[in-house]
Amino acid sequence: MVVISRRLETTCYCLFKFTQLTKLFSILLLLVAGLSHAAVLPEDRTDMLYHAYDGGGVEITGPSVLVRKGFKDTISFSASYYVDKVSSASIDVLTAGSTLYTEERTETGVGVDYLYNKTMLKLNLSTSTENDYEAETVSFNVSQDFFGDMSTLSFGYTQGDDVVMQNNNDTFREDKQTKRYRIGLTQVLTRKWIVNVVAESVIDQGFINNPYRSVRYIDSVANDGSITVGRQPEHYPSTRNSDAVAIRSMYRLPYRAAIRAEYRYFSDSWGIKADNFELRYIHPFKSNWSLEFRARAYSQNEADFFSDMFEYFDAETDDSRKEFRARDKEMSAFSDNTLGITVGYEFDDKYLPFVEKTTLKIYWDRIMFDYDNFRNWNLSIIGEAELGNEPFYSFDADVLRINLAISY
């Protein structure tokens, strides 16, 4: 009976979400109905990606496949499969007193792109599962070319419904919902120059914490000034609103090469402000080869309720947020810089009659993280630094991507 009731609840909830999406779909359709001009369906192709991340004691590897096929120039279907195999002994794991753990995340998705007259509609559904987290996401986008095809306007909405669980604690089960609203404009400026502006607001509600992480606080101070620390679970607000706006541009150089530049500004209701800048240089050579060089810089300040060391149990970090506390390094002030290179090769051989093009690309990125107020607690745990006065944490990560794309 309980199972049937839960199923009925789930069905009603899905219908409610579907009704909301239908309303949104109708409004967006009305918005673009007065506009005209051509849009183009995405290319028919299959992408097979192998990805590997290695940094800060964390290794994540896995395959990813994205298949897309269109029919009659009006509709295109896509399906995706993605795996993360995680092996982690990160500083968060070590300072929590745990040892290396492994887990696996699997994400599957389906999508449809529909070209109606001269309007592009996109719907994507995905589901992600791991042993302590489940996520279901629905995403809808509509875009329209206008002004002699020089401008493309797009709107989008994404809703994610997640369940946060905790290993070794069967009674822990919390919900989290994420809503994303975005709007974008792509503008052709000259025959060689195109620019894209996107704004996106994200609203989180529910359990936003990482249930495994805790803060440290000064438990006692000895006569010689040395301290002992205690641990207390983190406590985040149950809502988070953020805004991000990005501008990116492609410019074709006098020879066959291009420059891509991007800037993004971000702020949220937790007091975090961040921005990042990226520059890429894309250079094809010898008809089949291509090279890309890229550099990216990111920086952020800390959340209002972040502290590396709280002064006492249930400490207050700020008058307006006295009940909240965090020591996540992602909530601290830090910067990271990335240098990357891509080598691509397009195969001439049409090994199957329906294959038009096969491209292999190898991406490598080195990301260097430097934290400004998050100390390496693990060093004092193993006796290599004074407790509370450890050096600030930093680490480098390597990211490898091998992408085989077959167009047909």
């Binding site: 002004f147 002699g148 020089m150 792509t186 996107v198 291509s290 992602e330």
Partner: protein
């Protein structure tokens, strides 16, 4: 608030495009360079999505990632 501002800017663009004096200045036959694959914002979608995920999991910033603006309609 940010979305309202962005919407105002876009409405301004629409109003501007209604002016008869302002006509599209890059004709469809002049877009060969823009249609070149090296001019795509992200030519490999699965790969770009993965990299966005790498950053979003380790940085507080999220949203307005590449790809939300649509293409240029120049194929």
């Amino acid at each position: 608030m940010l979305l309202k501002r962005a919407l105002s800017i876009i409405i301004f663009f629409f109003a501007l495009s209604g002016c008869k004096s302002l006509q599209p200045w890059v004709k469809p036959h002049q877009r060969g360079i823009l249609a070149d694959s090296i001019m795509a914002f992200d030519v490999d979608p699965a790969s770009a999505k993965y990299m966005n995920h790498v950053y979003e999991a380790r940085e507080a910033a999220r949203g307005a990632e590449s790809g939300a603006g649509g293409g240029c309609g120049c194929n």
